[in-house]
């Protein structure tokens, strides 16, 4: 529970350190109406298949399925608020909290932004605090909400739940001829458990965001790992004393497309743990992204992610956990008229366990401890902007996956789920 305490202190110290000089007071805006952004997401969902991972099961979706029948659930899916005070002409802050259906109310992001007025075509920006690195092409704004669908891809669902570090990040942007380039470098901590949920549950598709002080439930664990590892995973934790880093390059040639490449490594020592049985996972991944506007109406997005996560000591043959993970999606979206937007997305995901024997010698547990997964999903969404402050989404999503560890819930390894959702987003 060290994270929020340190975080609060860090914010306090920075607030004092960067308190604006007297003459710049006109540039300060701490609590005007303009500094607050909020959003309500009213949801009606109908879901088949497994119980949700939110309840500690293997279900891939945010809401429980009704098995072979449909489970209907109206909910206030999300009530979010962001406070963005302006501290001086170049410094601002973002404090973002949410009450998400299925997760305890919590702080989501809290960071400072330093953005001086450009003096040339080279632009500079720095962010520091608890924040989402720029990986997702599907999220936007202070509240980090999805733009085209209700449910983000498996890649960005995972970013939302386990890639939220306390980081110091700097970005430089500059055009060279008709091409625009940007480079970001960051160091971070408090993301030591990243990879836990992905390992034990596998990939998932949902629009939940990592709580800061609270936890994710994990599905049942195999007989070996359930000794050392808690059934709860805290996504924002400092366990070992290693600082991780990430970097990002972006290139926008004058063809309406932007390409980016992102690399993350939390440099975890794999073997440190705290009293809550949270471990310092060693997680690294690459993410490549393309955002291509074919014309005024049609846009294609794609991301590919590939990484590896390790944890624990050396077992009978290998380290306790050594897993490769990969996923890719393609999303096409088309504006229809002034207010509507139609989106389709296709994606694949997989994990490969490089340490299946680590569960011990019992045959049954070897299956339970095999983190191998293969799956795919298809999503269609329709968005209508009703007013500048209201939007209505309809979404149909089908996800199918094979996972050996489902033996732990005595369910077939292959599972499919279909979900229809409608969401009314009201912002202020």
């Amino acid at each position: 529970m060290a994270a929020p305490k340190h975080l609060g202190m860090a914010i306090g110290v920075l607030l004092v350190a960067f308190a604006p000089a007297k003459r710049a007071w006109s540039q300060v805006d701490l609590v005007s109406r303009e500094t607050f952004t909020g959003l309500l997401d009213l949801r009606l969902s109908a879901t088949t298949g497994e119980r949700s991972f939110v309840d500690g099961d293997f279900g891939k979706l945010r809401f429980d399925g009704g098995g072979s029948t449909v489970k209907i659930r109206p909910s206030l899916a999300d009530a979010a608020i962001a406070w963005r005070p302006r501290l001086s002409w170049a410094w601002s802050a973002t404090v973002h909290a949410e009450m998400q259906d299925g997760v305890k109310p919590d702080l989501i992001q809290a960071y400072f932004t330093y953005k001086p007025t450009p003096k040339s075509a080279t632009r500079f920006q720095a962010r520091m605090g608890l924040l989402y690195p720029e990986i997702s092409l599907e999220h936007e704004g202070a509240l980090w909400k999805t733009s085209y669908t209700i449910t983000p891809s498996a890649i960005n669902s995972w970013v939302g739940e386990e890639v939220k570090p306390l980081a110091v990040e700097a970005t430089v942007r500059r055009p060279i001829g008709d091409h625009e380039f940007s480079a970001t470098a960051a160091v971070f901590d408090y993301n030591d458990t990243s990879g836990t949920l992905l390992t034990f549950r596998g990939w998932a598709l949902h629009d939940l965001k990592a709580p800061t002080r609270h936890e994710w439930a994990l599905p049942p664990l195999d007989n070996f790992i359930k000794g050392p590892q808690s059934r709860e995973s805290y996504p924002v934790r400092h366990i070992d004393d290693r600082i991780g880093y990430y970097g990002r390059l972006e290139w926008a040639p004058p063809i309406g497309a932007t390409f980016n490449l992102f690399y993350y490594n939390n440099l975890g020592d794999k073997t440190s743990k705290d009293w809550d049985k949270q471990w310092s996972w060693a997680t690294e991944f690459w993410n490549g992204g393309v955002n291509w506007a074919l014309n005024d109406k049609v846009r294609i997005l794609g991301q590919v992610m590939s990484g590896r996560t390790l944890m624990g000591f050396k077992g009978p043959k290998t380290i306790w956990i050594d897993m490769d993970f990969a996923s890719a999606y393609v999303l096409a979206t088309r504006k229809i008229g002034e207010t509507d937007q139609l989106t389709g997305r296709l994606e694949f995901f997989r994990t490969r366990d490089n340490s299946p024997q680590s569960g011990g010698y019992a045959f049954a547990n070897r299956i339970a401890a095999d983190r191998k997964e293969d799956g795919w999903a298809m999503t269609a969404a329709y968005k209508r902007t009703l007013t500048p402050n209201a939007a209505l989404f309809f979404e149909a999503l089908h996800v199918s996956s094979e996972r050996k560890a489902r033996v732990l819930t005595l369910t077939p390894q292959g599972q499919a789920q279909t979900m229809f959702q409608t969401s009314l987003r009201l912002s202020f």
Binding site: Q27, E34, W89, T117, P118, K119, A121, L137, E140, G256
Partner: protein
């Protein structure tokens, strides 16, 4: 002025003035055949001009509304004072680092305005340091023959002097050196119509922000 010189003056006016003022119409299309709006057409006559204050019919004003600069492109004569009223519910921070006029208007809110004097000719790209998606341009000129194209991609410069001149067409997203093409033309006394095809690159996408 004597009777004779007055008569000569009238004759000169009768013959010279109407004969020498021509209307020049320029239509601008992209290589894909679409009309190009917001292209700036300027005509610089080669013959020396009598210095006279230049005045355009449109207001010298760039409003910030719906997180955009309106107009996207504004042409003003050199030495003009341009106002930047904010009509949005949020505050803006307008700046430019263009060499023709680097400036910065720090944060100001709804129904407030600031102004900037543009004393050098050239292209001044506008940005808002809060909203990266806001892009606009002030084009500072020293010729009275300047106008931007409308939605049909058309511009008519009225009363241009007949004779040799330089015609320039600029657009922020034109694929050409300095986003501009230049032609030497001779404006006939009866006026002329010029069709121009330009190559545009897609407008940069600044819609995302982290």
């Amino acid at each position: 002025m004597g009777m004779r010189s007055a008569l000569l003056f009238v004759i000169a006016l009768l013959f010279a003035a109407p004969a020498m003022a021509a209307d020049l119409t320029v239509t601008i299309r992209s290589t894909s055949g679409q009309s190009v709006r917001d292209a700036v057409v300027t005509l610089q006559p080669t013959a020396a001009q009598a210095p006279a204050p230049i005045r355009f019919s449109w207001p010298y004003k760039v409003t910030q509304q719906n997180l955009q600069f309106d107009p996207f492109v504004l042409i003003v004569p050199q030495g003009s004072e341009v106002s930047f009223p904010n009509k949005d519910g949020v505050r803006h921070h307008v700046y430019s680092f263009s060499s023709a006029k680097p400036f910065e208007l720090k944060l100001y809110g709804k129904d407030e305005s600031r102004s900037v004097k543009f004393d050098k000719t050239g292209i001044v790209a506008l940005g808002c340091n809060i909203h990266d998606g806001m892009v606009g341009f002030v084009i500072v000129v020293d010729t009275p023959y300047a106008m931007k194209s409308d939605a049909s991609g058309s511009v008519t410069l009225r009363g241009a002097p007949a004779g040799p001149a330089t015609l320039r067409i600029w657009h922020p997203y034109m694929k050409a050196g300095n986003n501009q093409i230049e032609r030497r033309i001779v404006v006939p006394a009866g006026g002329m119509t010029e069709a121009v095809v330009v190559q545009l690159r897609p407008a940069p996408d600044h819609s995302r922000s982290y």
